[in-house]
């Protein structure tokens, strides 16, 4: 009982102050605006890299289509990525100095192309002041889905789980720039998985958004 009284006594000044503040400055102010940029049918053209594998680096091109159900939820119905692979100096050295076979298992993890589908959740939508001269609108999103990866080997079709995050910079009602950083966890065998991260920058064309 005594402790309860003591706690109440200690809390009193804070409560009084909070109430005084509410009495003096009542209300909360918000800026309510029509959302300026809304997406509907999105066509993505992107370029990027597969940077992680030590034996090759992939330069990729991607085409994708996304349907936006709401401002925060969308389905990237289809995306297809082709990778143009460049062998690294390490691989060349291994083949030259150590006679490693070009068909070695480690080299067969090269991604040739992949197709997949993702769900996209965009909880963040905001704006930034650019040099105090103009306002930029951005959106951040998380995505996750499945991929079929074609590796550089016979019968190289493998399933993968794709997760990632992205950032969209709106440049107009019909055009936005999109940065995706994703990772495909590819199941190459019964117990073996490889990680295929992808960094991609794209231009997204937006059609059919209501004003």
């Amino acid at each position: 009982m005594r402790y309860a009284l003591l706690i109440l006594l200690l809390l009193t000044p804070g409560l009084v102050r909070a109430q005084a503040e509410a009495l003096e400055n009542p209300g909360a102010v918000s800026a309510i605006q029509e959302r300026r940029f809304r997406m509907h049918h999105e066509l993505l053209l992107g370029v990027g890299v597969l940077p992680a594998n030590a034996y090759y680096k992939g330069l990729v091109g991607t085409v994708g289509y996304t349907y936006h159900f709401t401002d925060t939820f969308a389905w990237q119905i289809g995306r297809g990525t082709y990778s143009y692979n460049l062998q690294t100096s390490l691989r060349r050295q291994l083949e030259r100095d150590f006679n490693t076979s070009p068909n070695a298992a480690a080299f067969q993890d090269q991604v040739q192309w992949m197709v997949g589908s993702d769900l996209i959740w965009s909880p963040l939508y905001g704006k930034m002041a650019f040099l105090n001269e103009s306002v930029l609108h951005i959106e951040a999103f998380l995505l996750g889905g499945g991929t079929v990866v074609k590796l550089d080997r016979d019968g190289g079709f493998r399933p993968a789980v794709n997760v990632g995050l992205g950032l969209r910079l709106f440049t107009g009602k019909t055009l936005s720039l999109r940065l995706d950083v994703t990772n495909n966890t590819v199941f190459t065998g019964a117990t073996r998985v490889i990680q295929v991260p992808l960094i991609q920058l794209g231009t997204a064309f937006n059609f059919g958004a209501t004003e």
Binding site: L23, E24, P26, A28, V29, S30, I32, Q33, T70, Y125
Partner: protein, 538 residues
């Protein structure tokens, strides 16, 4: 808003559009080489389409004679005898001008003008290019004075339209209204002018007639304007404002005419906005608050433009009258933005106090009311002590913020700026041009100060009236709120059920305000505040 203040506001709006702010047109005179007539030759030849100034060497008197030393020009000294100038000076000065060196051209052109007889065929060209040189150097008033001289003397019909065009472009900036608007465009013989300049002159002359109350004469000028010209739209606006002053109860026709003007693409955005504001004010006076709100929505601001404080305050009053207390309070938040910190808006505090009172937040209401007397304590003290109100910083700033006083203040500021700028050219202009321009700027400044002071004295009186009225209402408010504060709550009374919170529509987004103002949000603030009023009879 009283009807008197409404008319005053509309009148000032009409005067505002009278010097026809051009839409994004860069004044031609500002760029020496690019705006020079395209086919203009580099030496002594006139602009394309104009008759060539005759070779100065052949025509100028005293050709080939050595130049005599001119007596030093002093401010009080008698005018010096014309200095002998080599006629080739004209050609060289012209070449300098077209080479983009107005600084090198100005002095010699002036010297040549001093020496050449006024009947010289190139005399008007000399004045014109001297004016252009001065304008290019940022001495617009000096340039305008030479252009006005060309317009008054009318010695060369080829130069005149160009001079008038340049003068017309100068009216977009602070300028000498008497010298340009009244004495040039207001007094021109209009028969010979090209269409554009003629339309502007007709408009100006009609405006002069309207100002002296002669609508019939004004109409004869306005009738000559092509329906598709921007001047015709501006003239319509001026006519409507004049008519508004004459009628007690504005008709639907006047409102619909203003409405049509608010959509007239020939008008500048500023003028269209003025027309929309006029519609809003008229509807407000007729208690059509919803209609007024629609008219305020027609006011289109450039992206990230903060807009005008009076617009927000009027919209806040309209929403208050509509019972949208929270939206009105949101707009008052806008008026606290740094962009409007120096605005003179005594009504703002009164309206805030009224809203808090209506929501039964009596302490904030009292505080908002007191804020007015606190903030304007010095000005109120000055009024009570019958001090010179033009010396009161707030009242002076408020008076200088709109109408004819604002134009006078801006012109005075321009003169002071250009007067300082003139000092930079002391070396390159030579003594004669420099002393002539110094004298010109001194005289013009003295006259501008006189005009400004006269307008200021009247304007501060009006602002002081506004302040006193607001202070009086605030005292009443304080008394009323004081009574409410100590009112007994009857048994069985209960707090009014809180208003349903405004739910965001799926197309909307909300940004919580934390004291940082964004220009793109200024028209979007909304306040969530509960009413503390109690129901006497549950």
């Amino acid at each position: 808003m009283t009807s008197r203040s409404l008319i005053a506001a509309l009148t000032s709006a009409a005067l505002l559009v009278s010097p026809a702010p051009a839409d994004a047109q860069s004044p031609a005179a500002a760029q020496p080489t690019s705006t020079a007539p395209a086919a203009a030759p580099t030496q002594g030849t006139p602009p394309a389409g104009a008759k060539a100034p005759v070779d100065a060497k052949a025509d100028a008197p005293d050709a080939g004679k050595p130049a005599a030393n001119a007596p030093t020009a002093g401010a009080e000294a008698p005018p010096p005898a014309p200095q002998k100038v080599d006629p080739g000076v004209f050609d060289k000065a012209l070449k300098d001008y077209f080479d983009g060196k107005p600084r090198d051209a100005a002095g010699p052109l002036h010297a040549w003008l001093q020496a050449a007889p006024k009947t010289d065929e190139n005399y008007a060209w000399g004045q014109y290019f001297l004016a252009r040189s001065l304008i290019d150097l940022g001495l617009t008033h000096a340039g305008a004075s030479y252009l006005a001289r060309i317009a008054r003397e009318r010695s060369n019909p080829n130069v005149l339209p160009r001079a008038l065009d340049t003068l017309k472009a100068l009216t977009d900036r602070p300028h000498d209204e008497v010298m340009i608007d009244a004495q040039v465009f207001g007094a021109l013989d209009l028969g010979f002018l090209p269409e554009d300049t003629g339309a502007y002159a007709h408009y100006q002359q009609g405006l002069v007639d309207l100002r002296v109350g002669n609508e019939r004469w004004a109409n004869t000028h306005f009738a000559k304007l092509s329906e598709t010209s921007p001047e015709a739209s501006r003239a319509k606006f001026a006519l409507l404002v004049t008519r508004l002053k004459q009628v007690k109860e504005p008709s639907d026709e006047i409102i619909s005419d203003f409405l049509a003007l608010s959509e007239d693409a020939k008008l500048t955005r500023e003028a269209r906005n003025e027309a929309a504001l006029a519609v809003a004010r008229l509807r407000y006076e007729r208690k059509d608050f919803q209609g007024a709100l629609e008219a305020y929505d027609r006011v289109k601001l450039p992206e990230l433009d903060p807009g005008r404080a009076s617009l927000y305050l009027e919209e806040a009053w309209t929403r208050y009258k509509l019972g949208e207390l929270r939206a009105s309070l949101g707009i008052l938040t806008t008026l606290d933005a740094p962009s409007f910190r120096d605005e003179f808006l005594p009504d703002k505090y009164l309206l805030r106090a009224l809203i808090y009172r209506d929501l039964c937040h009596y302490l904030p209401a009292k505080r908002a009311a007191k804020e007015l007397t606190r903030r304007f304590a010095d000005s109120l003290e000055a009024v009570r002590n019958r001090e010179d109100l033009t010396q009161d910083v707030r009242l002076r700033r408020a008076a200088n913020a709109h109408g004819s006083t604002q134009r006078a203040a801006r012109f005075l500021e321009t003169l002071e700026l250009e007067g300082e700028r003139l000092g930079r050219y002391a070396g390159s202009f030579g003594d004669r041009l420099f002393s002539h321009l110094t004298k010109l700027y001194d005289l013009s400044r003295a006259e501008a100060v006189r005009v400004h002071d006269a307008r200021l004295a009247e304007a501060v009186r009006q602002e002081a009236d506004t302040l006193l009225r607001a202070a009086e209402q605030v005292r009443l408010m304080e008394y009323e709120v004081g009574l409410k504060l100590y009112e007994r709550v009857k048994k069985g009374a209960r707090i009014v059920a809180p208003e349903d919170e405004q739910i965001l529509s799926p197309t909307q987004t909300a940004y919580r305000f934390d004291g940082e103002y964004w220009n793109d949000e200024l028209r979007s603030y909304r306040v969530r505040i509960d009413s503390r009023c109690i129901e006497e009879t549950p």
